[in-house]
């Protein structure tokens, strides 16, 4: 396993901390001219998503985390696991509920997602930023109202609920921003 010294710290570096894989967000070198040097580091725990601050003595070493990001295509879910396939190697992987998290409600077959793997096991799944999904259920559309003012909830084919303009009908395809969970536009078939 690789180890890193504090002077190799930079944002994005993946290290092990308290047995969890983490990513360095920010690293600040603090040193009194005549005294001990420290590294003040802000770190995201890749399992929980929580951000913590940690101080190291400069020169300390930590174990690196075998964490990689890969693009994979979503195949299907059996309720317990969500299965993905690498478009290059055709290797298949199952991600559990914790790893998939909120991304689950945006996943439609063949969507190209970003999987963060730790020792080959999915840690987290990021849905594509923009997805096109069909409306499964919503109140009937109000003809003529294209202002976008007001709005109503619509349930999409994946189960996600988003706020949409009043003129949207069941069966419409919508373009959604998965980061904000907001409706962007009606998509052409």
């Amino acid at each position: 396993m690789t180890t890193y010294s504090t002077n190799e710290f930079k944002s994005g570096l993946k290290i092990m901390l308290d047995a969890d894989p983490c990513a360095i967000i920010e690293n600040e070198f603090v040193k009194p001219g005549k005294g001990q040097a420290f590294n003040r580091v802000r770190i995201r725990n890749l399992k929980t998503g929580r951000v913590v601050e940690r101080t190291f003595k400069s020169g300390d070493t930590v174990e690196g985390a075998d964490v990689v990001d890969v693009e994979m295509q979503y195949l299907y879910s059996d309720g317990e696991f969500w299965y993905f396939m690498s478009p290059e190697t055709y290797e298949q992987l199952g991600a559990d509920k914790t790893a998939v998290g909120d991304a689950a409600k945006w996943l439609k077959e063949q969507a190209l997602c970003l999987l963060t793997l730790w020792n080959g096991v999915p840690l987290s799944v990021t849905a594509p930023v923009h997805v096109v999904l069909k409306v499964a259920d919503t109140d009937p559309g109000v003809r003529g109202d294209t202002s976008g003012g007001g709005g109503k909830p619509a349930t999409l084919e994946t189960g996600a609920v988003v706020r949409v303009p009043l003129f949207i009908n069941v069966g419409d395809s919508l373009k959604i921003n998965t980061e904000t969970g907001e409706y962007i536009a009606r998509a052409k078939e």
Partner: protein, 306 residues
Amino acid sequence: MRRRAALLAEARAFFGERGYLEVETPVLARAGAADAQLAQFALNDPVLGTLYLQTSPEYAMKRLIMAGSGSIFQITKAFRQGEVGRFHNPEFTLVEWYGLGYDHRRLIAEACALIARLVPSLQASARIISYRDAFRDALNIDPIEDPTDRLRAVAYDCLAPARKLTLDDRDEILDLLMSHAVAPGFATKALTVVTDYPASQASLARLNAQGLADRFEIYRGSLELANGFHEASRAEEYAERFAREAAKRRERGLPSIDPDHRLLAALTQGRLPDCAGCALGFDRVLMLAMDAAHIDEVLAFPIAQA
């Protein structure tokens, strides 16, 4: 670059008005700094052997003073290994000066006047506080008298991010508290001068009647700008402080550095004349003058591009 040139000219004018002589001393020298906290670049010359890029011009300037130079200043490059960050570049510019007949009090006033001239946006009046009072105000502990166990307990207690650190060394704990809890509370629009350091952090400052070091550090917010001493003057003091740093180096498995024999030899011929000396981080002062957030902004070619 223009601003750098203007401030360099301003600093030279400041010292010129006060009768200081500008000097140059070697950046590359046979002796390295004793200080266990400084990692230095060692170079190997096939003829001369190991040479060090100087971490500060202190030893050479003291040799000049012993040779009768009078009050001197220098603006020079200094080098410290592994120091890279928002406020650190391994190669940086130091303004270092020694006032003959000065004590640290008088030097503090002069250093603050220099900084105020280079950074007019700072409030004119500096707050002078002892190391002890700075810790008392911020953490309600006594950094001089309290047992190490108590200091460690406070460090673990108030600095959650440091809880996993092994803290054996008293000065290490004090450095941690100073940089993480005490200095961050200093004023950001004015200078804070910390004085009367614990004897264990005296470096080459003389000790006063209370057993504390006549050493000072000038801060702007938590940023350290300058460090100064009422200089120790006797050969025994230097030999003892060098030996202490050498012991620390051995303890930590760091490469040993030969003490500066030429300085020690000069000191055995006679004391260092009564003087106080100060080193000012010029790049950091320039950062303040230009309101820069990163030292890279004030360097023509920071280390990543050098």
